[in-house]
Amino acid sequence: MLKIGDKTFRSRLLLGTGKYPNFQVQKEAVAVSDTEILTFAVRRMNIFDPNEPNLLEELDLQKYTLLPNTAGAKTAEEAVRIAHLAKASGLCDMIKVEIIGCEKTLLPDPFETLKASKQLVNEGFTVLTYTSDDVVLAKRLEEAGVHAVMPAASPIGSGQGVVNPLYLQFIIEQAEIPVIVDAGIGAPSDAAYAMEFGADGILLNTAVSGAKDPAKMAEAMKLAVESGRLGYEAGRIAKKTYATKSSPEAAMME
């Protein structure tokens, strides 16, 4: 079970809700993924079109935990404002702190990220922080009291998979809070790989929403996350340079 703050989840796959080709496909993908945590962004409502379809209004909120993000924020102050707006909906007390410091790579601003995370922890939010693969920053975030750190596997939406497994493993080893690999996942094998080396969960969006068949990819990701987790729990064999026979040497016929 994945425990974040005071909540416990059966599924270790967190799903983003952006950029689906249409509403129907999105609903299917969400259902098939078996996720329990869905991320959202906070934006202005189109007041002139109140009947625009909105996923949230069709969701069984008993079944899903909402994880609003602070995407769009460039400073701690902006992120905190978005977090307050999200909480005022009365639907959630979780927040994904995401403060972009570089438009090209969408890597986070570490200083603003730490500052906002600290403040939101102090205000009683359940804080999940999007971070880079910076090992020391992940430690500082944990010391600040965040409830999960979410290092990127590679740049957001890039689909490059895990580009720095070593640093992600350092983060996982040192952490006593959940480490959720967020961003950059492209293929199911990327998700399985991160889970195999001990990630507590995977957050992805584009890998599913941008796939040719999003619902099928949602299922593939669900299985990959489960498979990777089982592999981690089972404990893989150590790597060796040379071969070792699987069949016995004894009792061979002459």
Binding site: A41, R43, M45, P50, H84, L85
Partner: protein
Amino acid sequence: MNIRVNGQTLHFSKEKMTIIDLLSSYQLQEKIAVVERNKEIISKEAYRRTELKDGDMIEIVHFVGGG
């Protein structure tokens, strides 16, 4: 009075108006939304008693798809 709503200046002929009047005039009263007035969040319980003033900056936000 003129009120800035989600970045657009809107004109209302009414002299007195509350947040709930504003939301109702766009059929938004039942929506899952959060209202901010001059950067201060207005709780749902306060919608009926919060009167708008000329020049107020209102943000009406909701959850949209995002990662």
